[in-house]
Symmetry: C2
């Protein structure tokens, strides 16, 4: 955190804005994560802010609310995303900034929505503000708001995948044993990841075999309840839900069961049933579009092998988290997590970006995005 | 590298000794990697040295050869391994140090050979030198000389394993395609790893399918030729060797073919045939003991899946290098590298230490040791 009055370079200001923006992960959907830093005309740090929660003030406003008005003259604004042009729950940030006696606005990336993109910049330009695109930070700023970018550009739910495997890629044994491959520290961080997405998604087999709770058990998200999405291709889970750990640990209206359109079960009051076309299986892109229409903007897929494979076969993975334990299980009894993903030639393998790494206990978390 | 006269803490001196010792990886077998740092009585850096090459001076002597004799009074010696007590190719280091007017010897770990362990320390103690065991560095100092430690303690060849897999643990496709999963940068580093071991070992199937060269193509080891060990359980490879890339790229007397004792082929002049008992397969511990008796102190196993699995089934892996590409292949067509390793219960999986990490291009190198 920068100190009041500290001199910051544009790069330092943008780095700080990125950190600020990341603080509210899990609380802003369907809005993006955005961070803002304001320097005075001599580059002294004045304030930072972020978009804290959906319906709350935007990052720019939160920053300026901390600054005495006499210091605003000639200030330089750094914001991860192009300031918004439209009046929504709150006034347009571009309009607000345009009226202030600031000197410049430095932004990381333009708004991904083609209907909006550039409009905020136009308002600012029209008001005579100097606009600077800090291109070197564009990818980082997209990553910060990656859920929003996928939502806007692809009109579907963002999909993150969380896998916990051995070093040789196995998530359990043929006999059904899967608890635990990774350490308590890794699993604790898994709960933090859960909190940053709207819903957690698993396949029917995982529901039936593991009877998971799929709630968020992490102090950072004490008051957040998440949604649960069950992929139920046989249409048999509704009747089992009340007695399951999911039924016991969630409000029923947070539970979404996806069933074939011609195999819909009688529902239980509160539970959401999402019908989907079925043709030797679901098309997962249909699922992501349906979830999006139902106001679920991001999901964390936690298995099992078949579910991972179904999404991967359609190249549907926007963020991949692999917790890798330094252990070996062997292919004779191990269950691979990429069942159903078929690579006929190596040039067609799914390729990801250079990952970010973090240790949790002795386990490694590899976080990466599909190469586009 | 420390500058002459720089003041170093004991920890800094030992860190530097570890770096020094590591410089000669690949050149000292059957001797250990050892590094030494000497500070004057006021902790100013005087010199460092390492055991550069088998038959050459030991680390301590190489360090003192750089120090004017008038500066030795009261000096403090830091050495990764207990100074040797025996007169071999060179004089005993403990005797040499005992005669010098030094004040203290700080060491990382005692000699692993029970016949020698503690004898060097005894000589120094007898000569009135202060002895300090820097216990916090013991594991690092063992790791530096890990080949020597395994050789001495287990009387067998040290086995390192090098794997190049996708993030889901596959090293190739069912159709035989395996080139390449990892990047050029990763493969280049693979050649550096080759250089640090006496021999490279592969199974018959890899020899037949890939026709690999298995030589060292890295400037750091321009003048080093390595040995090649082929595991030939069917006893059919001798006749194929001259036309192979291995035959064309190695002196024949650097080639070792391991065959069942009752299926030995007629040899070709120069090539070494190592007979091994056979009972539904080789016992890999027999192989490592046989190689040791034949003066091969360390091997790098490079595949294929069956060979990895054979060693792993006997828990024979002293150092594991996994190059992991951020890509997914899928289990339907992917070849796992831990074929034949069987885990019936998760508590019995092979567990490794918290790994060290390094990027090569976008690929990650995970280096670790089996948890003992």
């Amino acid at each position: 955190m920068a100190k009041l009055g500290e001199i910051l370079s544009p790069q330092q200001a943008m780095e700080l804005a990125l950190i600020e923006g990341g603080r509210s992960a899990g609380f802003t959907a369907p809005n993006p994560l955005v961070g803002c830093v304001v320097l005075d005309k001599n580059n002294h740090f004045l304030a930072s802010g972020n978009h804290e929660i959906y319906g709350g003030w935007h990052a720019e406003i939160n920053a300026f609310n901390k600054i005495p008005s006499e210091k605003i003259e000639g200030a330089k604004v750094f914001v991860t995303l192009e300031p918004c042009a439209h009046e929504g729950k709150t006034p347009s940030c571009a309009q607000t900034l345009a009226k202030l006696p600031i000197f410049s606005v430095t932004y990381g990336v333009e708004d991904p929505n083609p209907l909006v993109s550039g409009k905020g910049l136009k308002i600012l330009k029209h008001a005579g503000k100097t606009l600077i695109h800090l291109k070197e930070y564009e990818q980082k700023c997209i990553n910060l708001a990656e859920v929003f970018f996928v939502n806007q550009r692809k009109q579907r739910t963002f999909i993150a995948m969380k896998v916990a495997s051995s070093l040789d890629g196995f998530i359990g044994l043929n006999n059904g044993e899967s608890q635990w491959i990774t350490s308590e520290e890794a699993r604790h961080h898994g709960h933090l990841l859960r909190g940053t997405y709207d819903g957690i998604c698993v396949g029917a087999k995982t529901f039936l075999l593991d009877n998971p709770k799929l709630n968020i058990r992490h102090p950072h998200f004490e008051n957040k309840s998440n949604k649960v999405i069950l992929i139920d291709e046989r249409g048999t889970l509704v009747s089992k839900i009340l007695d399951s750990n999911i039924g016991k640990n969630h409000n029923l209206n947070n539970i979404y069961i996806v069933q074939p359109i011609d195999k819909i079960e009688n529902s239980i009051s509160g539970i959401n049933i999402l019908p989907l076309n079925y043709k030797n299986g679901f098309l997962m892109i249909d699922l992501l579009q349906t979830l999006y229409k139902n106001g679920i903007y991001s999901i964390l897929v936690e298995g099992g092998a078949q579910t991972y494979g179904q999404f991967l076969s359609e190249k549907l993975v926007d963020r991949l988290y692999c917790f890798i334990a330094p252990s070996l299980i062997g292919s004779d009894e191990g269950i691979s997590w990429t069942k159903g993903l078929v690579t006929q030639e190596l040039k067609n393998k799914l390729t990801f970006q250079r990952p970010e790494l973090e240790f949790f206990g002795r386990d490694l978390l590899i976080s990466t995005r599909l190469e586009s």
